[in-house]
């Protein structure tokens, strides 16, 4: 069986599936035949035995760590687990309804939960959670999802999940993950960005991957075409193994271009740099020939912990990267939490529209005591390399001025303490909100550079949630509205003599790069792995041709036409690329 989703990170992975499900467990209703009853009962017994040993293990651990008193509750769990009425009702239900055991079981346990939660007696009411707890464990063992985190993977696996959050991937045992497959998400969701930075294939937005795939299934993940094949036959397996080898060879060939100068045939020079999520990625940045770091995300410092990182810790993290890159620029983006990323220790209230909510610069300006710690750490790190600072999610000049004011205060605090920092550190604004894109003539007068964050700019301009796979088809970087905004940002920046970069995924698509190059974009920042390909593209076209392509693209009425046109011109100008990629 094969599933079609959204290609999120190229490459081919073949391996065992690992179902990583953190959502509520839902048993799907499935009919069974009369002769399957006994095997369904056997599955039920197996799940009960497994649940029992799990509970005993937890009980032992708790009683060891906290005393037998606290472990008492698990006796009640064991009683529920071994309850005759419950077991008999499930078996009766199986025979009568001829539905799969997980469905019958969740129905029976649901009935008890309802009865208990309605009781007048407080004590009995509280027992509802015990029953729920045991019920979930049994159901989990029936469905086959495992309670492991991604930190203790013992073998190489392809992670199959509903969605992967930054905290899931932060704890992940990276060496043992060879691919990602998720139900939701788009090309710019966290899963996709993470997969690219790890250089592993990923397919997202598959809708029902977690239902169709079980732990242990053999999967083929084709991250370029967005295809996932479940338990393939030998022939298919062979075909994809050959394709995998070709892809690896292609990547290797491209790597030869990593040190190519990012200049067009006729001498127009641009900069190609890398986006990073973690300081460890610096080695990959250097290995792929990046000229600097165009986006250093700092959220990792704040995630999966119970306190806020102090100035020293942040300073060390920024200094490490700045020093390693020495003279090459490192653009540090200030905290961009909110939206799909949130802080565990800062109680950020649940929001209906997190992407339009209290996040990034809005959050930082409301919490200057947290913001200033980061600003001082970045300023201090600026002595050790070519550090620049960038504010995310600026919506207009007022907000930008406020952020710069806090930065000035942080500078004064350092001066008072006689601490060193680069007085001339460049300050930039990320342009990712349409209101900023439309008023960047005003913003350009007060910053040293712009960096276009296309992932959010597209999402906000087109009103398309980039994690929602049902509307993924509407997420189009080449939509005329997006192109016009980008052109306006670049032109306004150049008018004030500041440089304009891009740190969204759009900068890593060969066809789009031709248009962006032609519009005059100065810096292209992307996942390290795509750098050699973009350098190859840039160094194999004439700036004159790129300008004509951009000019014509601006006249086309739909995003589809722009995309088709750009790819057609790419193939005409650099036929080798497609030929080598597809082979």
């Amino acid at each position: 069986m094969s599933l079609k989703g959204i290609p999120a990170s190229p490459g081919i992975a073949v391996g065992k599936a690992f179902l990583f499900d953190t959502r509520q467990l839902i048993a799907t209703e499935k009919d069974i035949k009369q002769d399957a009853i006994s095997s369904e009962i056997a599955r039920f017994e197996e799940a009960l035995i497994k649940t029992r040993s799990e509970i005993l293990a937890i009980q032992k651990k708790i009683s060891h760590e906290m005393g037998t008193q606290h472990a008492e509750i698990f006796n009640a769990h064991l009683l529920v687990l071994e309850d005759r009425m419950l077991i008999e009702e499930v078996i009766e239900g199986l025979k009568k309804e001829l539905k799969c055991v997980e469905y019958i079981f969740s129905k029976v346990i649901g009935k008890y939960i309802k009865v208990f939660s309605k009781m007048d007696d407080e004590y009995l009411k509280e027992r509802t959670s015990d029953i729920e707890d045991v019920g979930k464990r049994i159901l989990k063992n029936l469905i086959g999802a495992q309670e492991k985190t991604l930190s203790d993977l013992e073998e190489q696996v392809i992670v199959v999940a509903y969605d992967l959050s930054p905290s899931d991937t932060a704890n992940m045992h990276k060496k043992n993950v060879i691919g990602f497959v998720t139900d939701i998400g788009g090309r710019t969701s966290h899963t996709a960005i993470m997969a690219k930075s790890l250089e592993i294939p990923a397919v997202v937005g598959l809708e029902k991957a977690t239902v169709k795939i079980k732990t242990g299934d053999i999967l083929i993940v084709d991250g370029a075409d967005g295809i996932v094949i479940i338990n393939p036959d030998k022939l298919t397996l062979k075909k994809y193994e050959a394709k995998q080898q070709k892809f690896v060879a292609f990547e290797k060939t491209l790597l030869d271009f990593k040190d190519t100068l990012a200049a067009t045939i006729d001498g127009h020079r641009v900069e190609v740099s890398a986006n990073i999520e973690l300081p460890d990625e610096v080695s990959s940045v250097i290995a792929h020939g990046a000229e600097g770091i165009g986006l250093y995300r700092t959220e990792f410092l704040y995630m999966n912990r119970n306190d806020v990182p102090d100035e020293e810790e942040q300073f060390e993290a920024y200094k490490k990267v700045a020093a390693k890159l020495s003279k090459s620029p490192v653009i540090i983006r200030t905290l961009d939490l909110g939206g799909d990323k949130f802080l565990s220790q800062l109680k950020v209230p649940h929001e209906m529209n997190p992407f339009l909510g209290w996040r990034a610069i809005r959050f930082c300006l409301a919490k200057p005591e947290i913001f200033k710690v980061q600003l001082r750490a970045i300023l201090r790190a600026s002595v050790f390399g070519n550090v620049k600072i960038m504010f995310p999610m600026i919506s207009g000049l007022g907000e930008l001025r406020q952020a710069i004011k806090v930065l000035d205060e942080a500078k004064q605090e350092l001066r008072n303490k006689k601490m060193n920092f680069n007085q001339d550190m460049e300050v930039g604004a990320m342009i990712e909100i349409p209101s900023a894109a439309l008023t960047c003539d005003l913003l350009a007068k007060e910053v040293d550079f712009f960096s276009i964050g296309t992932n959010d700019l597209i999402q906000y301009s087109l009103a398309v949630d980039r994690a929602n796979e049902k509307i993924a088809y509407l997420y189009r970087p080449t939509h005329p509205a997006v192109l016009r905004l980008i052109k306006n940002i670049i032109d306004s920046g150049h008018k004030e003599n500041i440089w304009v970069g891009m740190c969204g995924e759009m900068a890593a698509e060969s066809g789009f790069v031709l248009i962006l190059l032609g519009l005059g974009l100065d810096e292209f920042s992307m996942s390290p792995v795509t750098i050699p390909e973009m350098k190859y593209v840039i160094s194999n076209v004439k700036f004159e041709d790129a300008r004509k392509i951009a000019e014509e693209a601006m006249t086309l009425p739909t995003g589809e036409e722009v995309e088709a046109f750009a790819n057609k011109r790419l193939n005409e100008l650099i036929p080798w690329l497609k030929k080598t990629k597809k082979q």
């Binding site: 009640a76 009683l79 529920v80 309850d83 009425m85 419950l86 009995l124 029953i131």
Partner: protein, 87 residues
Amino acid sequence: MLIEKKLTIQNEQGLHARPAAIFVQIANKYESDIVVRKGRQEVNGKSIMGLLTLAAEKGAKLHIKANGPDAKEAVEDLEKVILGETP
């Protein structure tokens, strides 16, 4: 052999929590089928969920019915739990 007995719960906590758990554990030691009835509600005495759904508090009247080779011993033991003695 069928043994039936009418009892009033003496235990302060009623037939909740630990007493219910102990009741079920003891009931499960016997081969006989055990049924507990409160008013019109009848449940399997070997089931904690069943027993708890009776919501039997102190003073509630219960019928215990055991049917099997060891019914007599079973009822004697279970009676102790209902009367608040640890068997």
